[in-house]
Symmetry: C2
Subunit: 585 residues, 2 copies
């Protein structure tokens, strides 16, 4: 037996007991004839003391232990003279009478502390050492606990967890599929699922009524910061429901999770139509933890001879409270920031509402104090506030301003810590016109239904009508992060065919790729709707963290490689030959 | 709103209430002016009645409903005159006042009943209809409930569920890897995991102490009956434990599952060394629900001039109780059965212990009544019993007899129904000598540790010594099915290197393929051990079923295709070109 207790559980009332602990040497120090060793495992840290008066040889061996060595210690629990109130085990120590080294350790390349001195590359390369650090252990424990809470809650609501296959037929969804050559079917390929969408719809057709799954999904996208090629979804589908039922069920789940795992009461989630979100926040996932809503300034800004504004479809501003004192340098930095290609604005106009009632702006040449006072009034700005103004094509400019709003809030620490602001964004458009490819894309996905009252318009309307169709599609947003999204689905073959047609599929293509689903619709498909939550993101957001990477045990790095496992690897030619790849490149 | 209640919940005390139900039309029948419709969903069946005296038009519409149409009915709950005691809802019916057809259905290709009239192919092709049948719904609900119970139990024992990656480095394990071309890493491939083995060991090095995961694994094997290319494991690993700890923990889990989900008390699991299992049952996964142990007959069968026995390394028999009355035809069928290439025996000898005390055997020419009486005594056979005897090379013959033992028990219904006989098989050999390839294979896997007291022999012994090394490796067997297997692992770099060397790896190959793990062993790897349960198999065995396929929502058929999804598919050349496949075939 390696231990009688773990390193986190001994207390004062265990004093006098003989115990055996195993763990890692966190730290050691000598003091007089005593040697103290902090022994660490997942559960905590316990102090072990070796007394050279008791056993000089044993103490000598303890002195030679190194950091991260794995040892087993037997001894007697006793009260500490020098208690450590910051540790649950801080009232006691083990007076050692035996020590066994279970495994040695090289000197770790960085310290195993809450704040590590390891750089990102080193931490990723030695992920097993990084994962020993408390913050990461807390994150992964949180994730495990959260998954359990999700399952318990949904099972309690009659949801059944069904595993859907990972080796499936390739279907054109949003992103690129990972493909898997099939040895048994010469020249053919499986795809890894981007989501279990069609399978969960088939489960509804099969009468499973309420399905969920916490499931890995795969997208062969270019790796960007915080995007992983494999990610985890809480995937759900319900039959005989309306949008209202789905929203209530998953608002219930989310509230339950915050209550159960974070002890936070969220209250009722507000709802906002997509159009309103874009108008007020320049984003379909507004962060409601702070104000700075977008203000339409066309009425006060145009017609004054400033060519840039006059030519613009939209002049839009935000009021940054109390920031009239930004320096020239700070304002220049903001201007540079909006001009970055990722944002794409041509320039940034500011108006400072000075404490003395005067205004200072970057467009003083065109706007006198009265005109600027007008702006300020339109924006509800008061003395000490700063207005930031962008102009241009309406949609783009709103998006740019939405991005700037987030940047300013983060840059100037205007986001209250520890707050959670959930929001349902509803009434998404069904289709999105893509100028570049000259075709419609599905805003959510091709299985999303138009609102019931829009079906007639969809079946009979013209091109412009299609652009205005709304869907029963919804996103759950928390603190500006998209946690989940879903929709009411089409369950009628004819309507699904029409949708594929609008999306540019020929009837043959639609049949070949989705015939199995449309066929199922002909055998008694119930009305159904669903939602999927990004589980990695939910973990991060619930802990107030912006990166998902430290909630994943073995993430991929930016080259798509597993940390230290260094996947993928070159497989040998024999193996490939056996796959009978008929590639015809 | 589509429903106020589901089709399984209305009872007599709901009488008088107005309700709305939605579901599938299971059956309809007309009786006088009444039309009865059985409405079905996952939760049950409720009878709906339409009365033409009340509403002739409505009843006319009800008459025209077809099987599997999806309808919504509103009406009043009332007591049935003709109660159906076989249905929880059988005391009531709904007197309908409104009917809406939500979706029609073509006539299904087979009936949606417990015993379907659909053949296997049809049932697989229309899996969404097959999945509507009660037995399958029960199976998948069972699976969901079982997974929940596993997670609750293990979490309660401080296990943390950690998701390990699916796109990993290819490592040579037992079976062939599925590979996934990487677009970002030209000419390189990910592999899909055959198990999360190395990742869970890294988690132990990382101090996670107790890990589990219910996880999909992948093996690109030729499809045989009841073997799926993707399958689900309950995968576990523990640090600072011995074999004893693992066995106790997972015996606890298994007992809990049977108690919780099946209401069956299993009691303590017996343990049997591998050598004993093979000797007594001719199998490393003996089915203990019935006797018929293997009996060594060399002493009584050899030296009597029967060349076949005399030349054999082993003569081995089983006593089939009460089967002396098998006919010539039945015995011939058994002989043919053992001669099939899958079994590979040369012939089968029988001895009938007749009720009159005489013996009748297929080798009467060589053995007189006294000699056969001797056999019977050795085998503990009584009047009315049958002895079946095989001979040949010892190991092969035992295996053949183990197979025959199972076949006879199944064929002649000698396996008691509803019984569960768990067994730990322990003390597996570490290595297996393969004559064909002239090398050692790992009996469990290359990370398995020899028993502690065998380490010295392993590091210093000769070739023959290696064959006799025992490992702390164990299997859980229930009713002759291997439910799980695991081992104590190597956690020392030197010992792991030695093991790879024995398995025929050059030091460079070992380093290239497993350097990441051996490197981790140098940074404070704790002693650890683990186990994995086959979740699909566990589901089937707990329900007394031999096939796993009906516990999987969307299994692959024998061509490795998803039922009706018909994966894999040919992906287009552009997509392949983009993958930059440098195949060099």
């Amino acid at each position: 037996m390696f231990r009688t207790h773990n390193c986190g559980e001994l207390r004062l009332n265990d004093a006098g007991q003989e115990v055996t602990l195993s763990g890692w040497v966190q730290a050691g120090r000598d003091f007089g004839g005593l040697t103290f060793v902090d022994l660490r495992d997942r559960y905590g840290i316990t102090q072990v003391v070796f007394d050279s008066d008791d056993d000089a040889a044993l103490t000598e061996r303890a002195r030679k232990l190194g950091r991260e060595w794995v040892v087993q210690v037997t001894g007697t629990v006793r009260e500490r003279t020098n208690k450590n109130p910051n540790r649950p085990t801080g009232d006691v120590e083990i007076l050692a009478r035996d020590l066994q080294v279970l495994n040695k350790s090289k000197v770790p390349p960085f310290t195993i502390e809450d704040e590590s001195d390891g750089g990102d590359d080193l931490r990723m390369r030695y992920r097993y050492l990084d994962l020993r650090r408390s913050p990461l252990q807390r994150n992964l424990l949180f994730r495990s606990k959260l998954a359990l809470a999700v399952r318990a809650y949904l099972s309690g609501q009659d949801f059944i967890e069904v595993e859907t296959p990972n080796l499936i037929k390739s279907t054109p969804e949003g992103a690129r599929d990972f493909v898997v050559p099939s040895r048994l079917n010469e020249g053919q390929f499986y795809a890894l699922p981007q989501s279990p969408q069609t399978f969960k719809q088939l489960l509804m057709v099969a009468g499973y009524d309420r399905y969920f799954q916490i499931v890995k999904c795969f997208r062969d996208e270019d790796l960007r910061a915080d995007r992983q090629p494999e990610f985890t979804q809480i995937d759900c589908e319900m039959a005989f429901v309306t949008q209202e039922d789905v929203l209530n069920t998953f608002e219930g789940l989310t509230r339950h999770l915050f209550r159960e795992v974070k002890n936070i009461e969220l209250g009722e989630f507000p709802r906002m139509p997509y159009d309103e979100a874009v108008r007020r926040y320049g984003s379909d996932k507004p962060d409601l933890r702070f104000g700075m809503e977008l203000i339409d300034l066309n009425a006060v800004a145009q017609g004054r001879g400033f060519q840039v504004f006059d030519a613009a479809e939209l002049v839009v501003g935000i009021r940054v409270p109390g920031k009239a004192d930004l320096s020239r340098k700070q304002l220049d930095a903001l201007t540079d920031w909006v001009k970055r290609p990722q944002v794409g604005a041509k320039g940034l106009v500011y108006v400072k509402c000075n404490d003395d009632g005067s205004f200072k702006s970057s467009v003083d040449k065109f706007f006198d104090q009265d005109a600027l006072a007008n702006w300020a009034q339109s924006a509800g700005a008061e003395k000490g506030d700063l207005l930031l103004v962008l102009s241009g094509e309406a949609e783009k400019t709103r998006t740019q301003m939405g991005t700037l709003r987030l940047h300013v809030a983060a840059e100037y620490d205007m986001i209250p810590a520890g707050e959670f602001k959930p929001l349902w964004v509803v009434d998404f458009p069904l289709l999105e016109w893509d100028e570049e490819s000259n075709r419609f894309h599905a805003m959510h996905h091709p299985f999303t239904s138009p609102k019931r009252e829009e079906v007639e318009r969809m079946l009979t309307g013209d091109h412009e009508t299609m652009k205005s169709l709304k869907a029963d599609a919804y996103d759950l947003v928390i603190n500006g992060a998209e946690i989940g999204g879903g929709s009411v689905r089409i369950y009628d073959r004819g309507l699904q065919e029409k949708n594929f047609q609008l999306l540019g599929f020929t009837p043959e293509e639609a049949e070949e790729q989705f015939g199995f689903l449309m066929g199922a619709f002909e055998y008694g498909a119930p009305p159904h709707a669903g939602i999927a939550f990004g589980f990695d993101r939910l973990c991060a957001v619930m802990n107030g963290q912006s990166s998902i990477r430290d909630f994943i045990a073995f993430p991929k790095n930016n080259q798509g490689r597993d940390v230290m496992i260094d996947a993928p690897s070159r497989i040998d030619t024999d193996q490939l030959r056996e796959l009978n790849l008929k590639l015809d490149l």
